[in-house]
C-alpha cells in the first residue's frame, strides 16, 4: 500500500445483542430495533429485506447463517465508516472468541471447564485427549462472507498455534511421554502437541484460506511472551516457521500485553520468523495521554527500539488506541474520557505515529491500529476511536506531504 500510515483493525468488535440472542432463539422485530438504528448509521441499504427474512425464518440453521452474515456486514461497514483501510473480517462476528472457536473445531480436544483468569473473568480451557486433527474449516466460511461484502482490503486474523497449545492442557501428549523427569515430559509433550496443531489444524486452515483468496493472514500469538526462556522462544519460532512454510501470502504477528520484559525477548527472536511481514503490537496501553513526540511523553513506545536494534526489518502495526477501561488522567488536547473509555484525539494518534517513525526510521513501515480487538467497547465508542485513529493517521501523513 503506497499510502503512508494506513489504518487497520486488529481483531474483534463487540457482538450486538441481536447477534448473540439470534443465535440462541428466534428474534422479534423489537430485538432488531438496534440493528435498524445502526443500519442507518452504516448505510446498510437492504436492512429491511434482510430483517424480514430473519424474522420469518423458522429453521435455526438458516437463521444463524443469516444473522452471522448480517453482523459481519455491519462490522465491515463500521470499519469503512470509520475510514479504516484494512477491515479484517468485520470484527470476528462469526467466532465465539479466539480460543474456543478453534478448539471446538478440533478432533481430540475437549473443553474441560472454566479456569480463573482474573477477577470475575474466566476461560474455558481445553485438553488434548487424543492426537489432534481438524474437524472442519474454521475460518474459511467467515472469509467467504467477508470477501463478498468488503469494500476495502481484508486480512484474516487466526489464533496462532503456540497460543492454542499454551492455553490448553497437554493431556494425551503428556501421558505418551516416558522421560523420568516430569519437566522433560512436559516440554516434550508441548512440542509434540504444538507441531501436531500446526500440521493437522493450522496449516490445513491456511491452505483453505489462501485457496479461497486470502492474501494476508494475521497470526495472533498473545501467549508468546508468556515464557521468555530461550527454549520456549525457539519452540515458538520453530512452530511459526513450520506454519508459514511454502505458503505465498502476507503474514503478520499480533502480540499484546506482554510481561515486563516480553517485547525485549520477542524482539530478539522476531528476525528469525520466516515471512513475518508485520508485527502488530500493543503500545497505547502503556503510554501517557498527553501530546508530544519526546521520549517522556511517548514512553509507551520506547520498546520499539528493541525490535529495530535486533534487526527486524518488516512493518509495525502500531497500537495507538487503548482498548480497555481507562482510569488515568488525560490532557485536554490529547483526548477525553467518556465513562470508562478514553477517546484519543487525532493529535495524540499523530504524535504516537510520528514518534514511532523516528525510531523505525521509515514512515512506510508504520500502520496505525488499536492495541488489540475492540470487543470490550460499545460500537459507538469503537467507531469514534477508530475514526480518530484514521484522522490522526491523516494528520501524520500531512507532516510528510
Amino acid at each position: 500500500m503506497s499510502k503512508l500510515f494506513p489504518v487497520q483493525e486488529i481483531g474483534s468488535l463487540a457482538k450486538p445483542k441481536w447477534r448473540t440472542k439470534g443465535l440462541r432463539q428466534p428474534l422479534s422485530a423489537q430485538d432488531l430495533s438496534e440493528a435498524e438504528e445502526w443500519a442507518e448509521k452504516l448505510g446498510i441499504e437492504d436492512f429491511h429485506d434482510r430483517a424480514k427474512n430473519i424474522l420469518k425464518t423458522i429453521d435455526d440453521k438458516t437463521r444463524t447463517k443469516e444473522i452471522l452474515e448480517l453482523s459481519t456486514l455491519y462490522g465491515l461497514r463500521l470499519f469503512e465508516t470509520a475510514d479504516v483501510d484494512n477491515e479484517g473480517v468485520g470484527g470476528e462476528q462469526q467466532r465465539v472468541e479466539m480460543y474456543e472457536h478453534v478448539i471446538k473445531a478440533v478432533h481430540g480436544m475437549n473443553l474441560l471447564g472454566h479456569v480463573h483468569s482474573f477477577d470475575y473473568k474466566y476461560f474455558n480451557k481445553g485438553v488434548a485427549e487424543s492426537k489432534v486433527s481438524r474437524k472442519r474449516p474454521i475460518y474459511a466460511p467467515e472469509f467467504l462472507d467477508v470477501k463478498r461484502y468488503a469494500h476495502r482490503a481484508v486480512k484474516v486474523p487466526i489464533t496462532g498455534p503456540y497460543t492454542l497449545v499454551d492455553w490448553s492442557f497437554s493431556g494425551y501428549y503428556i501421558k505418551k511421554q516416558h522421560d523420568s523427569s516430569p519437566k522433560a515430559r512436559k516440554n516434550e509433550a508441548k512440542r509434540e502437541f504444538l507441531l501436531d496443531i500446526v500440521e493437522q489444524v493450522v496449516r490445513p486452515e491456511i491452505r483453505d484460506l489462501i485457496s479461497a483468496g486470502a492474501s494476508w493472514i494475521q497470526i495472533d500469538e498473545p501467549a508468546v511472551t508468556t515464557h521468555p526462556e530461550p527454549q520456549e522462544m525457539e519452540l515458538f519460532v520453530e512452530a511459526w516457521n513450520e506454519t508459514v512454510r511454502g505458503f505465498s501470502c502476507k503474514f503478520s504477528d499480533h502480540t499484546c500485553y506482554p510481561s515486563e520484559i516480553g517485547y525485549k525477548v520477542l524482539a530478539e527472536y522476531a528476525p528469525k520468523l520466516d515471512k513475518c511481514d508485520q508485527l502488530a503490537l500493543e503500545f497505547a496501553n502503556r503510554d501517557t495521554s498527553r501530546l508530544g513526540v519526546d521520549g517522556s511523553s511517548r514512553e509507551g513506545y520506547t520498546d520499539l527500539k528493541h525490535f529495530v536494534d535486533a534487526g527486524f526489518t518488516g512493518e509495525f502495526g502500531l497500537g495507538v488506541a487503548h482498548v480497555h477501561d481507562f482510569t488515568g488522567s488525560v490532557s485536554s488536547d490529547a483526548g477525553h474520557v467518556v465513562g470508562r473509555d478514553l477517546i484519543e484525539s487525532p493529535e495524540l494518534v499523530r504524535d504516537r505515529l510520528l514518534f514511532a517513525t523516528n525510531i523505525v526510521g521509515d514512515p512506510a513501515k508504520i500502520w496505525a491500529n488499536p492495541d488489540c480487538g475492540l470487543r470490550t467497547r460499545t460500537w459507538d465508542i469503537s467507531l469514534t476511536k477508530l475514526a480518530n485513529v484514521a484522522k490522526g493517521a491523516e494528520l501524520a501523513r500531512e507532516t510528510y506531504s
Partner: protein, 325 residues
Amino acid sequence: MSPEIQLAGIHPRSEKLIELTRSYERAKTSWGQVEFQLEQETRELIKLQKSLGFGYLSDGALAWQDQLRPITRSLKGVESGTRYSRWFDTNTFYQKPIVVGEISAGEIDPKNFLQTKLLAGEKNWKITLPGPYTFSQLSENKYYEKYPDLLVDVAVAEREIIKKLRNEGVSLLQLSEPCLVYQPYRETFRDESEVELALKAIRSVVENNPGQFVIQTYFGDASRIFSELLDLPVRGIGIDLFETDVSSLSERTSKTLVLGAVDSRESYVESPQWIADTARKLSEQVDVQDLVFASNSDLKFVPQGVANQKLEALSKASELFKGSR
C-alpha cells in the same frame, strides 16, 4: 505414619460459582447469592479435606481475586491501581500493587483473608500468603529509592497481618516465595546477595513463631538454593517436583519437606503410585523424616473437578507411601 496432605493455595471455583460471579458482574445476580454459594463451596471443600485426612484445613481462598490482593488491601502506602500483570507464566493475571508511600500495616480485616465463620470450631487452620520477597518483587515501586527498604517494610507489615490472623485461629502459615526460584519478568535472575536479602526478610517475618511456617517455592527449580532454604528457622520447605531437579538434592534435614507432587498447571491427574514412588526415592535420597504431599501451587489453574481428583490422588499416594515404609 503417612505423610500429611495439605492445600497449597487458592482452590478453583465451581462452574456454578463461576456462572454466579459472571452474572453478578453483569448486575443480574445479587452479592448475597454469590456469598451463599461461596460459603456452601467452602463447606464442601472443608468436608472434602476432612474426608481425605488432611491435618490442616484451608478454606481454599475461593473469594480471593488473586494471590496478592488481600495483602495489598491491608497495607498503607500501597494502591491497587487498575493495571493487571501476568501471574508468572500462567494465563492468569493479578492486580499489580503500586507502592506510592512508606509501607505499613493498615486496617486488617481477617474476613478479607479467611472464612473465619466456617473454620470456627476446627483445630488446625492453614492459610497461604505471598512471602515478603515475592510480594515486593511483583509490586511496582514508585516510592522507595532502595529496594531493600521496600522489602524490609513489607516484611514488617506482613508480620502484623500474620499476628492478626493467628489471633483468629490460624495455626499454619504457608509463605509462597516463587520469586526465589523463577523470575520470568526480569532480565537478570536474582543473585546471591538478593537471595540473602530475601531470606533475611523471611526470617524477620517468622522469627517469633518459626514452628508455624512453611516456605513454599514453585514454578522454578529449588535445587539451586535448597541448602539456604533449609537454614531458615521454619517448620517446612516446599518444592515443586515438576520443576526441581530432585536428583541434585542431597542435604539431610530434620525439617518437613512439602512436596508439590501434583501439577496445578496440567489437567492430567498424577497416579498415586507415581507420587508415592517419587516421594519414597526422594525421602531416601535426602533422608527426610517428615513429608507433606501437596499441589505444587494454587490449584486454581485447573477446573474444580480436576483439582479435587488431584487431592484424592495425593490422599491415596499418602496411604501407599505409608504402606511401603
